[in-house]
């Protein structure tokens, strides 16, 4: 069930980035897709258990979440965030000359 929700998020994001005409919306849609991917990592990390994987006092019989995907996805979140920031800044720059931010119009005016 959770897995289906995660895949739905990824698909919604992907189709949003294809079908939306506005550049800013495309970028937001891509962020939705990346949220889906991150959620999938978290989901896979919790296959074995949900307890935070910090070695404190060992609780017998408790199942810990897998720390590796969680650690790895932290990097991906930071990277995704910085790429998002870069893209939004370029959209701000582009918006000065293309206030509607219609992708087809921008594409038309920047074609050789």
């Amino acid at each position: 069930m959770l897995e289906a929700c995660v895949f739905a998020t990824i698909l919604f994001g992907f189709f949003g980035s294809v079908l939306k005409g506005n550049l800013a919306m495309k970028i937001i849609a891509m962020d939705v897709m990346s949220t889906g991917a991150i959620a999938y990592y978290v989901l896979i990390a919790s296959r074995g258990g949900r307890l935070t994987p910090i070695l404190d006092e060992v609780v017998a019989g408790e199942a810990y979440a897998d720390p590796v995907p969680q650690a790895v996805i932290l990097t991906a979140i930071v990277i995704g965030f910085s790429i998002q920031a870069l893209m939004l800044v370029s959209v701000m720059k582009l918006a000065r000359d293309n206030p509607t931010l219609e992708t087809s119009a921008i594409e038309q005016s920047n074609r050789p």
């Binding site: 990824i10 980035s17 891509m30 991917a37 790895v72 893209m87 074609r111």
Partner: protein, 523 residues
């Protein structure tokens, strides 16, 4: 005496340290940047010379794993040569330290790709490459540059999201991110990972973002993108094909398809920089077609393509129809012709050995399509070899060519303002560009001999190529290619539509590619 492991890690960190260091000391940016690139040349050369591969596992089981062998050596050597040449080319320009910092960050992360053997390190390095390449493309800050850079980042980030999902599926099956785990991974994981790498490497239909990006970026940036950045996507593919034998036929098939797709576009192209970009797509196919010898081909292609981009970028204009009517400087035209000949596979250049080695390592079913692609490469690059830089080529008039050239020449010799109606709008804009194009600076004088010298040295890596059969094969390929080039009308009436290069179509094609890949990797 430092041991090899520490040396490798120091060398890996060096470009990043120097890159951020020169930002603090802008006065010494270019010398230090060149030194960092030369360091990669030395390291790459020593990796090729060392017979046994070096394996490194940092931290523990879940840590980063690195592998240095002669394959990575060749790719590192390419990276070092192209980066050094690009820095030399920019020496006389007024580019700020920011440019060199980004260039070195790009250089360092590409080096990292060539050592990594686990999916996560490759992911991180590929994303850093995207960001650094974005900054380099957007460096002029014009609207067009920002749009091209944004488009590049958008396409590559979407592809990397698919890759990320594939990577976690591999982890689920193996509880590790190592490449070897792909063997046990479900087919959807393989399809997702391949899609991400194919888009980054500019392979087959997922590489159609490449012509616009490489064609519109500034000259040194396109040299960098075409020379090494696409190889960052290819290297993991080649490594997977070697580590996971099940993937080998698929990668070879994709290579052949890419080579054919790239040349068919390149033969029909009229714009010199886009022609080079399409030629990159087809050469990427040659690299993938024979994974065991991919390194040498990547080296010779990287050097020649960087030289071509730097040379063609200094020509007064981009439309080949206009260029054919101008008189070019012989040394510039000659350098372009030498680099183009190397890609066609002519001796005594690296391209000859690389092409012979690749064509000798093919599987039987690959031989015919790849030889067709080789002939197509000759046809496409003849457009650059026979530019009128030497008086004989200028006088050379081939059938079908006379009338059209004469009309363009007439409009050139006459008053431009009065004759503007004769020229098509496209030709008019190229003439305007020709007057504003900067004269080739001192940097080009440094960079071109450096790259062409590298090509000549690379020739020594495979001396066995010099045999009667390879000379015969080359003569037949060149003969057929030049024959067809001579017979074809100079400007084909057929122009392939560029609709597929729209952003929506590029992203949409990814879903299509995913379905096709999934269907292909299904056991």
């Amino acid at each position: 005496m430092m041991d090899l492991n520490n040396l490798t890690i120091t060398w890996l960190a060096l470009p990043l340290l120097v890159g951020f260091g020169i930002y603090l000391f802008p006065r010494v940016d270019r010398p230090f940047a060149t030194l960092a690139a030369l360091g990669s040349i030395v390291y790459g050369g020593s990796a090729i010379a060392r017979a046994e591969p070096l394996t490194l596992t940092l931290l523990n089981n879940f840590g980063v794993s690195l592998l240095v062998d002669s394959l990575s050596g060749f790719f590192i050597l390419t990276n070092g040569f192209v980066t050094a040449a690009v820095i030399l080319y920019c020496w006389g320009s007024d580019r700020k330290t920011f440019f060199y910092t980004q260039l070195l960050v790009l250089h360092g992360s590409i080096n990292a790709i060539f050592l990594c053997t686990d999916l996560m390190s490759v992911y991180v390095a590929l994303e850093v490459i995207s960001i650094a390449a974005f900054s380099l493309i957007a460096y002029p800050r014009s609207d067009r540059a920002i749009w091209i850079a944004l488009r590049y980042l958008f396409v590559s980030n979407t592809a990397m999201l698919f890759y990320l999902i594939g990577a976690v599926l591999v982890y689920k099956a193996n509880t590790s991110f190592y490449f070897e785990g792909i063997q046990n991974a479900p087919p959807e994981a393989i399809a997702l990972i391949l899609l991400g790498l194919l888009v980054k490497g500019g392979v087959f239909i997922s590489g159609l973002w490449l012509p616009l990006t490489h064609g519109e970026a500034a000259t040194p940036v396109s040299a960098m993108l075409s020379g090494v950045v696409v190889k960052a996507g290819l290297f993991p593919l080649v490594r997977c094909a070697l580590l996971v034998p099940d993937l080998d036929p698929l990668i070879r098939l994709l290579g052949v398809a890419t080579a054919l797709l790239g040349v068919s576009y390149a033969v029909l192209e009229r714009d010199s920089k886009r022609l080079l970009a399409y030629s990159t797509i087809s050469q990427v196919g040659f690299v993938l077609a024979a994974p065991p010898v991919a390194g040498f081909y990547a080296l010779s292609h990287g050097l020649a393509k960087a030289a071509l981009f730097l040379g063609v970028g200094s020509l007064p204009g981009r439309d080949l129809r206009t260029l054919r009517t101008l008189k070019l400087a012989p040394w510039l035209g000659g350098a372009i012709a030498i680099a183009a000949l190397s890609i066609c596979g002519a001796p005594p250049l690296g391209g000859f050995g690389a092409k012979t080695l690749t064509l000798d390592t093919l599987l039987p079913w690959q031989v015919i399509p790849l030889n067709v692609a080789a002939v197509g490469t000759v046809i496409a690059l003849s457009k650059l070899i026979f530019l009128p830089w030497n008086p004989y080529f200028a006088a050379l008039k081939l059938p079908f060519q006379g009338a059209e050239d004469a009309s363009i020449q007439a409009s050139h010799s006459g008053d431009l303002g009065a004759d503007a109606a004769v020229l098509s709008p496209a030709a008019g804009s190229t003439v305007a560009a020709a007057t504003s194009a900067p004269a080739p600076g001192v940097g080009l004088w440094l960079a071109l001999p450096f790259l062409l010298g590298g090509l000549a040295i690379a020739n020594g890596f495979y001396p066995q190529a010099y045999g009667l059969s390879s000379f015969l094969k080359l003569a037949v390929t060149l003969g057929i290619g030049w024959g067809i080039y001579g017979l074809l009308p100079r400007s084909l009436p057929l122009q392939l539509p560029r609709t597929v290069e729209n952003l929506d179509h590029l992203i949409g094609a990814m879903s299509l590619g995913l379905v096709i890949l999934f269907w292909m990797v299904m056991p």
